[in-house]
């Protein structure tokens, strides 16, 4: 179950995360990306400072915020009953190797639906100058006791 009082709650900003070029390559290969997409010369030719992270890479930063929610006694989120319902990433600019990012998670809604709970989290990801880079929006379904 999950406590509906956490709707609107903002969790503390994460520590700084340095996006590594080889981490991008590791993540890209794990998600079956082509070698061309992790080619430095190609990235620079496209006008980027360094390699561009795959579109779902911000999930790594979302995980940091989610860990705070799981550890929060007020939330009462039983992670063993959680199913990933929806996920979205909205980019202001691409994430590039060398970026120093921080993330901040807030709970935008908690709803009950037929014995289950639906929790929507927004994770905002900022760069070194505190400009928004990407928002990751995640919907988790917490299955009810008899679901």
């Amino acid at each position: 179950m999950v406590n509906s009082n956490i709707q609107g709650k903002r969790y503390p900003k994460s520590a700084t995360y340095l996006v590594g070029r080889e981490k991008i390559r590791e993540f890209a290969r794990a998600t079956f990306a082509s070698e061309e997409s992790i080619d430095l010369v190609a990235a620079e030719a496209a006008g980027h400072r360094d390699l561009v992270a795959p579109p779902t890479f911000p999930i790594v930063l979302q995980e940091f915020g989610l860990k705070l929610v799981i550890a929060d006694p007020e939330a009462g989120l039983d992670f063993s009953r959680v199913v990933h319902g929806e996920q979205k990433f909205v980019f202001k600019r691409p994430i590039v190797a060398g970026d120093l990012l921080t993330s901040e998670l807030s709970v935008t809604s908690v709803k009950s639906l037929g014995g289950n709970h639906m929790v929507v989290f927004d994770t905002e990801i900022f760069d070194e100058s505190n400009s928004l880079v990407c928002t990751a929006i995640s919907t988790l379904v917490v299955r009810g006791e008899d679901a």
Binding site: E26, F27, R29, A30, T31, F32, A33, S34, E36, S37, A42, A43, A46, G47, H48, V52, A53, P54, P55, T56, I59, V60, E63, S80, V83, H84, G85, E86, Q87, K88, F89, V90, F91, P94, V96, I137
Partner: protein, 138 residues
């Protein structure tokens, strides 16, 4: 970079098959930091009532956009990408699960040069992602 003026709604711009085996899941667990054992241990998956070891939803989401990135030639052109997880992908201990991704043009804005591409990701004859939409800058 594709030319938006030459695109037509309904065009298939990319199509690709992906073979997932247990190694793929372990590799994704390591890269993403998601070490939930339902993605690599049969006993744990069965104990929580699942039909077997499942691929991470985020792995399915991650690979589904690869054909679009290859078509664009630059993942920096992705503005927005969202999916709904509708069905699990069961990955056997031996052999593989084959996932097919088809990317089609769904919406075109010639003025802003933005396009919406809808992805159809299927496994075993079923769509495993719903409302799988990508906005790109062309």
């Amino acid at each position: 970079m594709p030319d938006i003026s030459e695109l037509v709604i309904g065009d298939v711009v990319a199509e690709k098959n992906f073979n997932l085996d247990r190694d793929s899941l372990v590799r994704y667990a390591g890269a993403s930091g998601d070490f939930n054992p339902i993605h690599y241990r049969d006993d744990v998956a069965v104990s929580v009532g699942l039909p077997g070891v499942l691929a991470h939803g985020m792995l399915t989401m991650g690979l589904s956009i690869d054909p679009v990135v290859s078509w664009l030639g630059d993942s920096g052109k992705i503005l927005e990408y969202g999916v709904r997880f509708t069905k699990p992908v069961v990955v056997p201990a031996k052999g593989r699960a084959v996932i097919t991704v088809v990317a089609r043009i769904a919406e075109l804005d010639q003025e802003t040069k933005k396009a919406r591409i809808d992805l159809q990701t299927s496994f075993d004859g079923n769509n495993v992602l719903g409302k799988s939409q990508v906005w790109v800058q062309l």
